[in-house]
């Protein structure tokens, strides 16, 4: 049941962002902002009161409710970047390129948060900061792909080829992610991560709280990406305006 909500939120946000990137005007930001805020508040309340304190790890286990929800926006971000890359290559419409840039930037923020909260949780529970386990390691590699993408975008800034090349790398990078997951599974099969936080395996209160967190974070991702998209549109309008005005 919970995954239905999460899936719905992911589809809704992705659809909204794609629609937003195509159109001229920017509507719905304040609505999305309020929705995200409401979801965050609900999630925070649930973490504090609804979710029980886990017997084995104690209170620190509640990092679970902030660590895991970051995963979806991190992978959703790069997924949208790849989708936008394909869109750009087919239509050469700059709005796709702006969506790719915005979702990559916000996606890398969430990806970094996974890598930050992971060790903070691992230290008290397993005694060392970095835990070479399947999910965390694949997320680290995803973070490197993000880094490479943003560096390429930075180094090739401006020319048309920049947009084409970043679109291509977004596609190739996303195609590599499942292989990275398999390969890390082979190399580091032993996973210290809780066997599989399949929400079904968790007691109801826990999985509901986690679900709320996921929905909230997806909405936050949507809101931040929409705002970043608006900034990107202003940038390109400014770039174009600077040419129109009589330059020397």
């Amino acid at each position: 049941m919970v995954s239905l909500f999460v899936g719905g939120a992911v589809l809704a946000v992705s659809g909204w962002l794609v629609w937003l990137s195509r159109g001229r005007e920017h509507r719905g930001h304040s609505v999305a902002g309020l929705l995200a805020l409401a979801a965050l508040l609900l999630w925070a309340w649930m973490v504090a009161f609804h979710a029980p304190v886990e017997r084995a790890q104690g209170l620190v286990q509640k990092i679970f409710y902030v660590h895991v929800p970051c995963v979806i926006p991190a992978y959703l971000g790069f997924g949208l970047t790849a989708l936008a890359g394909i869109g750009f290559l087919r239509s050469r419409n700059e709005s796709w390129d702006r969506l790719a840039a915005a979702s990559a930037e916000v996606g890398v923020v969430f990806c970094s948060l996974i890598l930050a909260t992971g060790p903070i949780w691992a230290k008290p529970v397993w005694g060392h900061w970095w835990v070479w386990d399947l999910r965390l390691t694949s997320t680290l590699v995803l973070w490197f792909i993000y880094l490479a993408y943003l560096l390429l975008r930075g180094f090739a800034f401006g020319s048309d080829t920049a947009r084409t090349f970043t679109a291509v790398y977004g596609i190739v990078g996303t195609a590599a992610i499942p292989f990275v997951y398999f390969a890390v599974d082979l190399a580091r099969g032993d996973t210290l991560h809780p066997s599989n936080p399949a929400r079904e395996g968790l007691p109801a209160a826990m999985s509901e709280t986690l679900g709320a967190g996921m929905v909230a974070f997806v909405l936050v991702f949507g809101f931040l990406t929409a705002r970043r998209l608006a900034a990107a549109r202003l940038e390109s309008d400014l770039l174009e305006a600077s040419e129109r005005s009589p330059v020397g």
């Binding site: 290559l89 590699v141 490197f144 792909i145 880094l147 490479a148 560096l151 390429l152 180094f155 090739a156 048309d160 080829t161 084409t164 090349f165 679109a167 291509v168 790398y169 596609i171 190739v172 990078g173 195609a175 590599a176 292989f179 990275v180 398999f182 390969a183 890390v184 082979l186 190399a187």
Partner: protein, 223 residues
């Protein structure tokens, strides 16, 4: 205009250039020789301690050395202003990618042969025990590196600081090749067995990135 002829022409031209200007082969050969020598000196004496690490180290060495070759793979075009010649083919430009990737594949296979000889001499790796399996892993791994590497080399040829950028772009994407090939090579040398599934994943990886390279190259050659 059959694309296969174009790919074959591009491949032959690249090999002819490699034979004639030999610096690409020279760079890779010397670099590999140096690193294997360093390995043989620094690795601990007892063979079984080193044995487990050698396949992984060899594949990392192959990846690092292939960067030298890949970074040069479009140098001839950009120096001669011949990107337009390649971009002007009368068929899908993906065939140019296949030609280029083929030439890089052959260069990587030659490099693997050289590294295998070095490993046998300096790290006393007994390849005869591995036989065809090691060769098969080498070929599949080389194809993976060549396909992703050629595409990213084409991407970064006209970008600032490409010597730095190519490895940064390439390494995260080829990590699966590295991990799987190191394990399969170790297994072929008598290490602990790995499930056959991983041969399939390696093959799928090669297939996916050759296809992506083919379909995307039309845009990459456009400037």
């Amino acid at each position: 205009m059959s694309g296969a002829r174009v790919a074959w022409a591009v491949l032959r031209k690249d090999l002819l250039l490699d034979l004639r200007s030999r610096d690409r082969a020279g760079h890779m050969g010397v670099f590999a020789f140096l690193v294997v020598a360093l390995l043989s000196i620094t690795l601990p004496e007892s063979p079984e301690a080193a044995g487990a690490w050698v396949p992984a180290l060899l594949w990392i060495l192959l990846l690092l050395t292939s960067i030298l070759g890949l970074a040069r793979s479009f140098a001839a075009e950009s120096e001669a202003g011949a990107v337009a010649t390649l971009a002007g083919v009368a068929c899908d430009r993906g065939w140019v990618f296949l030609g280029k990737a083929g030439a890089n594949l052959i260069a990587l296979l030659a490099l693997q042969l050289w590294v295998a000889v070095l490993a046998a001499v300096f790290l006393d790796v007994r390849w005869e025990a591995a036989g065809w399996r090691a060769a098969a892993v080498g070929a599949l791994g080389a194809l993976g590196l060549a396909s992703v590497g050629t595409l990213l080399a084409a991407l970064s040829v006209s970008v600032r600081a490409r010597e730095f950028l190519l490895p940064v772009l390439l390494f995260p994407l080829v990590l699966p090749v590295l991990v799987i090939c190191a394990r399969l090579t170790a297994e072929s040398l008598g290490g602990d067995p790995t499930p056959g599934l991983w041969w399939g994943v390696l093959g799928l990886y090669d297939w996916v990135f050759v296809l992506i390279g083919y379909f995307v190259f039309d845009h990459v050659l456009e400037d």
